[in-house]
Symmetry: C2
Subunit: 389 residues, 2 copies
């Protein structure tokens, strides 16, 4: 009667065709494709089309979507003023992203009628996310925003808007692989937020703004920064001591665990045998670093990873703490040239593909999401006026 499904863990509320997280097998399926087949091969626009249409686009469809996205990249008018004031107040990037996207407002005049879908609004939202993130990052650093380049694809243009230079193709490819890897991941809190808002027949901008707000929370948006800090700190110690990175990594991991600390970038709530996203991003990092010339960092990270896995197995046997998505996210995004403060906003730039697809799926489902709670407060209190309390 009063059984409580705390946090709704394990409670299924709907059906989805978008992604499947199989923790026991260590597999992630996105739009029917194993992550390993999709993420390194597809451009981000292909994955967007896949999630919105449940099939990959033909060449003409792909070009049309690329063109459509490129045509909707300009910063919304009101967003400029909002972002400048946010920068003056030094607000966190995720807040500015939420505010900036919020100003887009409705794409059409009315809340969606039951069961109807406007994919154009989804395109506009996906197109605007990198523009707002990059513009705010520059304003925060005292720089003027850079206009989008319509000839560049989605990922490459994001990097271009950050520093005004056309990115190395391998950096853009690594970013696309990252976007594809994080674009959707079952029923996480931000995706669920977007679906709850949509379930009232509200609009897609409201849904995505809510999702950005949820992703901002540190229990969700993650903290890939510390995993990279660990690698850098171990390298610095090795440089000082003259010992190898492997020796310093061994010491660092033991010290951290023995003092009760947590090794960031290892272990996952669901994936117990492997996190498939770590493998995909590890390969993406290897490919990028071998071309862009920082392969020494990549090799050191691999050494740290191997040592950490070995020491974790020794000190926490049976816990199966495998490399998770955060470890290689940090390496890939750093290699692309992004600051740690841009990691979660860049996550949002990729994840909006999944959010919009879930909104479209929820529109078709058209069922209000409204759980219950157990009331444990007082009842029957008698009113007493303020002067007699």
């Amino acid at each position: 009667m009063t059984e409580i499904a705390r946090g709704l863990e394990g409670v299924k509320f709907a059906q989805t065709r978008l992604s499947k997280v199989d923790g026991q097998a260590g597999q992630l399926t996105i739009g029917g494709y194993p992550l390993e087949a999709l993420a390194p091969n597809a451009c981000f626009e292909e994955v967007l089309f896949l999630l919105w249409n449940d099939r990959l686009p033909g060449s003409a469809e792909l070009n049309a979507l690329k063109h459509d996205l490129a045509a909707r990249r300009a910063l919304p008018m009101a967003a400029g003023a909002v972002l400048r004031e946010a920068a003056a107040r030094k607000l966190p990037i995720m807040d500015a992203l939420r505010m900036g996207i919020d100003t887009i407002g409705l794409c059409s005049d009315e809340p969606h009628p039951a069961g109807q879908v406007d994919v154009g609004c989804a395109v506009a939202l996906v197109a605007h996310m990198p523009t707002v993130a990059a513009a705010y990052w520059r304003l925060l650093h005292g720089l003027e925003p850079i206009d989008a380049r319509p000839d560049l694809d989605h990922a490459a243009n994001y990097l271009y808007m950050l520093d005004g230079r056309e990115p190395h193709p391998e950096a853009a490819r690594a970013l696309e692989t990252y976007f594809n890897t994080v674009v959707d991941h079952g029923m996480n809190a931000s995706t669920f937020t977007a679906r709850v808002i949509t379930s009232t027949r509200s609009d897609i901008v409201s849904a995505i703004v809510g999702a950005i707000g949820a992703l901002k929370g540190p229990l969700h948006g993650g903290a890939p920064g510390p995993a990279l800090d660990m690698v850098f700190e171990i390298r610095a110690r090795a440089a000082r001591s003259g010992d190898s990175v492997a020796q310093e990594a061994d010491r660092w991991v033991r010290e951290t665990i023995e003092s009760g600390g947590r090794i960031m970038g290892f272990g996952h709530r669901v994936y117990k045998v492997r996190d498939p996203r770590a493998d995909v991003l590890g390969l993406a990092a290897q490919r990028m670093f071998s071309v862009t010339g920082e392969s020494r960092l990549y090799e050191d990270a691999r050494v740290v990873e191997e040592v950490a896995l070995r020491v974790l197995e020794e000190l926490k046997p049976g816990r199966n703490l495998k490399t998770n998505v955060e470890f290689y996210t940090a390496l890939v995004l750093h290699g692309i040239g992004l600051e740690v403060a841009m990691f979660t906003p860049t996550f949002a730039v990729g994840r909006v593909g999944g959010w919009t697809a879930h909104v479209l799926e929820q529109v078709r489902d058209d069922r209000l999401i409204r759980p219950d709670a157990e009331y444990v407060g007082a009842t029957g209190r008698a009113w007493v006026p303020a002067d007699r309390r």
Copy 2:
């Protein structure tokens, strides 16, 4: 295994001390008080204090909260620009409310640490809601926003900011009773949205912005407008035909039901014997109209209600379609002088009291809310490059 709790109906995910909806008994408890004891007696600031602290304030505490709210009413700087552009685009009021509140940004620099609560942010959010709603309503009508009056209480100042006139005390009292009546109502979709966002340890502004987006949806924010339209249409017919309002109401209700239409303002998903909010608002309407001089409209509405209840019982026996909150909401808000377009935004101005209280409760609970979904899509699709699709 794959049982799906569609819409999470009846699934309890947490405990709450804030409100209890007892549909079988037709009772609503808010902060331990029966609605009938609280809503007509308390000022809105007392109810806010009650929800945030689980007890009514003493006189000094009440004055301190009133002062605190009054001091935080000014329109946030960036909101002005956003609202002006929204007005130029004629965006719906709920969108402008969401955008304007979004610009408040963080009240403190950091996401809340686990279990910590900053009530100051809740005060700021509640204080800003009427300012943003009133300012946008005026901009939409080509009028300049009116500065808040710190000497007026929350409800009276809202009405003052709409038209620059100090409201009749009975109008302010009726609005307060309305706010108190709708301030919280169990685990509805907007309240749940605020709790999901908070559960990631995100900030309270993100949570409230998400809640506004959810309330905007017509399945949630409701449609009190049509209930009033019905009364006006029946009156107009009576004026034309010379028949009584009761006779025209009888005809109108029969025609509507026989042509498959729905009588707005009657029937509720949960309340089967009575909607306690309708009773409280009915009394508030009676009191206000008897003083402000439109008591004829009130009497006609009562007649329409009686006829509708009788005909509904005759044509849909056993369905127990009782007067719901929307019927008297429309009458009260119209009597106060609000346009129909302001009904849902005004609902939000009251409900933010409950949203903020739920955020504070969820912060203390500190449990990530993340349900599951059943995957029904394809698996094991093989990658084919675009030129071979």
